[in-house]
C-alpha cells in the first residue's frame, strides 16, 4: 500500500509545554484510521500541523507520490493539495444557503479571477443535489444554513468535506451531538469514503470507533502510545492506565 501522508519526528511546544513530542504517523492512500486519546493528548494539534495551521518546531510532514513537504505551505495550498478538515464544532457559513455552502466547497479552481467569472454549470448543480441527497438535506438546499439544527450542520459540513474531494479527510468528532441513527449514517459515509481515500477520525466515543472497524492510534502526551486494532490497543496495559482505566 502506498503511503499518502507521513509525519515523522514532529515536535511542537507552546510556551514551553510540549503539545506534540516526537510524533510519527503514517497513513495509506485508501485507509481508515481512528485516533483516540485523553484530552490534551495532542489530537487537535496534530490536525493543525497537517493542515498547516501550526508550524512544528522540528520534524517532517511528507505528502503524496511526489513526497512534497507540507511544512512550508499555506493552509489554502495544503487544502488544494487534497487535505480536507472537519472541525469539532460545526463551522458552516450560516449566512448562506446550503447550496451556496456546497458550491463553495465543490472541487474547482480556487483563484479569485476564475471564481469571479465562475457560473455554476449543470454538472456542478447535479453534484450538489447528489451530495445533498447523501447527507439528507435535499429539501433544505435553499435554506440558510444558520437555520439548520446542530445535527444538520454536522451533516452539511460532512457534505462540504466530500464536495472538496480531498485525498485525506481529517474528521474531528464527527458524531458529536448526533442521534444513534445519524451516527449509523455517518459511519457508513466514512467507511464508504475510506475505500477511495484516506480518512483520519478523531473520536472519544469507543462505541463509534468500534463500528468504524479500523486500525486505531492512541495518542498520549503528544506521542503515539499504541497502534493496532481496537482490541489490541484496549488490551494494552499502558493504554488502560492512561486512558481507559480512568
Amino acid at each position: 500500500m502506498t503511503t499518502l501522508l507521513e509525519v515523522s519526528g514532529v515536535s511542537v511546544s507552546f510556551d514551553g509545554f510540549r503539545a506534540i513530542n516526537n510524533l510519527s504517523f503514517q497513513i495509506g492512500a485508501a485507509e481508515m484510521r481512528a485516533i483516540i486519546g485523553p484530552n490534551g493528548a495532542g489530537k487537535t494539534t496534530f490536525m493543525d500541523i497537517v493542515t498547516g495551521k501550526t508550524k512544528p518546531d522540528e520534524g517532517r510532514v511528507i505528502w503524496g507520490e511526489r513526497s512534497l513537504s507540507l511544512l512550508g505551505l499555506s493552509e489554502a495550498r495544503i487544502a488544494r493539495e487534497g487535505v480536507g478538515r472537519k472541525f469539532q464544532k460545526p463551522t458552516v457559513f450560516e449566512d448562506q444557503s446550503v447550496q451556496e455552502n456546497l458550491l463553495m466547497a465543490l472541487k474547482d479552481r480556487r483563484g479569485p479571477f476564475s471564481v469571479l467569472f465562475y457560473r455554476p454549470q449543470r454538472a456542478h448543480l447535479a453534484r450538489v443535489a447528489e451530495l445533498a441527497n447523501e447527507i439528507g438535506l435535499s429539501d433544505q438546499l435553499r435554506r440558510k444554513s444558520g437555520e439548520l439544527s446542530h445535527g444538520q450542520k454536522q451533516w452539511l459540513e460532512i457534505g462540504m468535506l466530500l464536495a472538496q474531494e480531498p485525498r485525506l479527510l481529517l474528521v474531528d468528532e464527527p458524531a458529536a451531538g448526533m442521534t444513534p441513527a445519524e451516527r449509523e449514517h455517518t459511519t457508513s459515509i466514512l467507511v464508504e469514503a475510506a475505500k477511495t481515500r484516506a480518512v483520519v477520525v478523531v473520536e472519544h466515543d469507543m462505541e463509534f470507533v468500534r463500528r468504524l472497524g479500523c486500525k486505531v492510534t492512541v495518542l498520549h502526551e503528544g506521542s503515539v502510545l499504541a497502534e493496532g486494532s481496537l482490541d489490541h490497543v484496549t488490551a494494552n496495559k499502558e493504554v488502560i492506565d492512561v486512558y481507559l482505566g480512568r
Binding site: S74, E75, M104, Y118
Partner: protein
C-alpha cells in the same frame, strides 16, 4: 433549472428604475435644461451625492461583504479627485495664458506658455516650475488612467503588505487610518507639488466648455454621476451575486474556514481592496469637478470614518443600503450643518444644529449599531416579509400538534 445563488435581480431592477426616475425628474426641474425649479447649486449637490453613493458602494463591498473595515477608501476617492483636478487646472490655466498672450506682439514660444502656466498654478506655493508628478497633466487620457491607477496601485501595495502579514480586524482598520493620515499630512505640505493646503481649485471650469453655462455643465455632470453609479452598482451586483460573493461573505464570517476550503484568502482581499479603491477613485474624479475645489482636508481620516458611518446607517452587506446611507446621511448632514435647520430654544439653552449635528450623528451611529445592525436597509426586509411571508420550516400553527409544512402539503 433552479438558480444557484440568491438573486438580487429584483432589488437591482427597482434601484435602477428609481435612479432613472430621479435623474429624469432632476433634469426636468433643473435650470440648465428644465423648468428651473431646482437651482444649479442643488443639482451639483445631488450630483455629488450620487458620487458619494458610489464610493459608499465600494466601501460596502470591502466592509459589508468581506468584513474589512477600511478607513482609507475616502483617501482613494480624494486621490481620484486630485488626478482629474491636475488636468482640469492645467488645461484651464493654459487656455487663459494662451488667450492673454495672444495679444503680445511676438507669439509666445511653448516654453514661455509652460512657464506662465506653472507660474500661475504654483505661484501660491512659491515656485514656478512643474513638479515631476505633473508630467502627464497635459493629457486628459493619461490623467483619467491615473484616476484608476494611482488609488489602485496604492491600495495594491498597501494591501499586499498588510494582508500577507495577516493583519485583520481592528488592527487593519488602524493601519488603513494611519495610511490615510500620512497621505493627508503629506498633501498638506506646500512643496509636494500639489499646492499643499491650497489644494486644486477652479475645477468646475471645464476646459473647452467655458462658453457653456454652469447650469448646463452641472446637469451633464449629474448625468455622468448617475450613469457611473448605475454602472458601478451593476458591476458590484455581478461581483457579489456569484461564487465570488459567496467566498467574500465566507471570509467575513469565518476566514480560517475559507482557507481550509483551499481559497487563497489574502489574494481575494487584495483583489477586492485594490478593485474598490479604483472604484472610489472614479467616484472622486466625478465628484470634485462638481465641488470645484479639492484640498488635503478632504482626505483627512474623518472623511473615511464618515464613509463607514454612512454604510453602517444605510445597511451593511447590501448595495442599496450603502446608497441609501450615503444619500440620506450626507443630505441630512448638509441640511443641518448648512444652517437651514431651525434652532431649538429650550429657554435656558438654544440647540444650534450646526454645533450639535455631529453629536446626533454619532448617537444615531451607536444606536444603529446596537439596535438595528441591518441599518435602514433592514426596513426593506420587514416590507418583503409582509408581502411574502417566508415560513419555510417553521411550524404552521401555534400549538405543538400543528402540522409541519411537509405534512400539510401532502
Amino acid at each position: 433549472m433552479q438558480r444557484a445563488y440568491q438573486g438580487r435581480n429584483r432589488s437591482t431592477a427597482i434601484f435602477l428604475l428609481l435612479l432613472a426616475v430621479f435623474t429624469l425628474v432632476v433634469t426636468l426641474l433643473s435650470e440648465g435644461v428644465g423648468i428651473g425649479m431646482v437651482s444649479t447649486s442643488f443639482v451639483k449637490t445631488l450630483g455629488k451625492t450620487l458620487c458619494l453613493a458610489l464610493v459608499a458602494i465600494s466601501m460596502d463591498l470591502v466592509w459589508g461583504y468581506a468584513g474589512i473595515l477600511s478607513l482609507g477608501h475616502f483617501a482613494f476617492f480624494g486621490l481620484g479627485g486630485y488626478m482629474i483636478g491636475m488636468w482640469l487646472m492645467y488645461e484651464r490655466t493654459r487656455e487663459i495664458v494662451v488667450t492673454s498672450l495672444a495679444d503680445a506682439p511676438i507669439p509666445p514660444t511653448a516654453q514661455e506658455v509652460s512657464d506662465a502656466v506653472a507660474n500661475q498654478i504654483f505661484g501660491v506655493v512659491g515656485t514656478a516650475e512643474f513638479p515631476l508628478i505633473w508630467t502627464f497633466a497635459d493629457s486628459l487620457f493619461a490623467q483619467l488612467l491615473l484616476v484608476v491607477l494611482v488609488p489602485g496601485i496604492l491600495a495594491g501595495v498597501f494591501g499586499w503588505l498588510a494582508f500577507r502579514s495577516r493583519v485583520a480586524g481592528v488592527y487593519l482598520s488602524i493601519l488603513t487610518q494611519a495610511m490615510t493620515l500620512a497621505l493627508s499630512l503629506y498633501l498638506f505640505q506646500n512643496d509636494n507639488g500639489l499646492r499643499g493646503n491650497n489644494g486644486l481649485s477652479g475645477l468646475q471650469n471645464i476646459p473647452g466648455l467655458t462658453e457653456v453655462p454652469q447650469a448646463l455643465v452641472s446637469v451633464w455632470f449629474f448625468w455622468g454621476a448617475a450613469f457611473a453609479l448605475a454602472a458601478g452598482y451593476l458591476l458590484s451586483v455581478w461581483v457579489v451575486s456569484g461564487k465570488f460573493g459567496s467566498v467574500l461573505r465566507g471570509i467575513r464570517d469565518d476566514e480560517a474556514r475559507v482557507r481550509f476550503l483551499g481559497y487563497p484568502v489574502e489574494a481575494y482581499k487584495l483583489v477586492l481592496f485594490a478593485g474598490t479603491a479604483c472604484l472610489a477613485g472614479i467616484a472622486g474624479a466625478l465628484y470634485y469637478p462638481q465641488a470645484g475645489i479639492i484640498n488635503p482636508a478632504e482626505l483627512a481620516p474623518i472623511a473615511s470614518i464618515y464613509l463607514a458611518v454612512w454604510v453602517a446607517i444605510g445597511g451593511r452587506g447590501r448595495l442599496y443600503g450603502a446608497v441609501i446611507g450615503a444619500g440620506f446621511v450626507s443630505l441630512v448632514s448638509s441640511w443641518f450643518t448648512g444652517g437651514q435647520a431651525p434652532d431649538v430654544p429650550l429657554g435656558f439653552y438654544t440647540i444650534k444644529w450646526v454645533d450639535w449635528w455631529l453629536v446626533v450623528l454619532g448617537l444615531s451611529f451607536v444606536l444603529v449599531t446596537l439596535f438595528a445592525p441591518k441599518g435602514i436597509g433592514g426596513l426593506f426586509d420587514l416590507l418583503e416579509r409582509r408581502i411574502a411571508p417566508d415560513r419555510h420550516g417553521a411550524d404552521l400553527g401555534p400549538d405543538q400538534g400543528a402540522l409541519r409544512e411537509k405534512e400539510a402539503s401532502e
